[in-house]
Amino acid sequence: MQRPGRDYITAMHRFANPARFVRLADRLLPWIISVAVICFALGGYFAIFSSPADYQQMETVRIMYIHVPSAWMSMLTYIIVAVASFTGLVWRHPLAFLTAKAAAPIGAALTALTLITGSIWGYPTWGTWWEWADARMTSVLVLLFLYAGYMAMWQMMDDFDKACRATSILALVGVINIPIIKFSVDWWNTLHQGASIVRSGGPTIHSEMQLPLFLMIIAFHAWLIALLLKRVKLELDRRKVAVMQQSLASGLAHQLAPAPEKLEGQ
């Protein structure tokens, strides 16, 4: 008859690899956080105090320094969720699934921030808080719904292994929204203008705006990586708690129904 502790130990063996991940993450985190803080500080400074040629009309453009990076990161995070899900389905490593699970709330927060800052920027610029006919706006809203569905699915499924795979399938089905967001400004001519940063002729935005934007993009990347590392560690710990609680419960069940040999020995 297995002792309850035995289940715990075999379960812990499955996390041996993640222990290496946690050590690596702990070593990297201080550096990444420093990069984030420095870039946010510098980027924020230049964003607020840089003075484009006639800044009276360009004040609201300072919102761009948040709106553009958060939009890019919200899409990048979804790609992380999708790639991690695919990796998990193919190589069956629990760490991949937990990475996807950890990334989703970050992506949802960034998408919400994109929509909020976009709406705040849109009102003085275009006269409207929201424009349903704008393809990019609506597909970013759909991205938020996709994140919500993904997170709801994790919440509602009890069996961990099935939850891993079901959420992964869902993430992969929704990935088609990403190219739709990216190319929607080229396909449909509504409020958002076409690409002005990553395009074949080089960026068309004012050179004085490139530096703060570049700094903010690096800052957001660093923030994303640091937070993702923290959240993966969190998900690993949560999983350990769940496994231990389960083995405790089955251990109790073993104690309440002792093996026949024990009874006879008494």
Partner: protein
């Protein structure tokens, strides 16, 4: 000089929008970071409570000297 900076920081006519956007950014970015840290601490506490307890060194020494 302070007046100039104050003037600049009010960002002209659409100033409140700029402030609102940057405030929203700080709330979201710091907020989810904080939520993560709090959840991590809570989970670590739960983990510590669940770990099987090892006998401490004192009791081992005591039982040896009892023999």
């Amino acid at each position: 000089m302070m007046e100039e900076m104050f003037q600049h920081l009010s960002f002209g006519k659409h100033g409140p929008y700029v402030w609102a956007a940057w405030t929203a950014a700080i709330i979201v970015l710091a907020g989810i970071w904080a939520q993560t840290s709090i959840a991590a601490k809570r989970t670590k506490t739960a983990l510590d409570q669940l770990r099987p307890k090892r006998p401490s060194n004192d009791t081992l020494v005591q039982s040896e000297s009892d023999q």
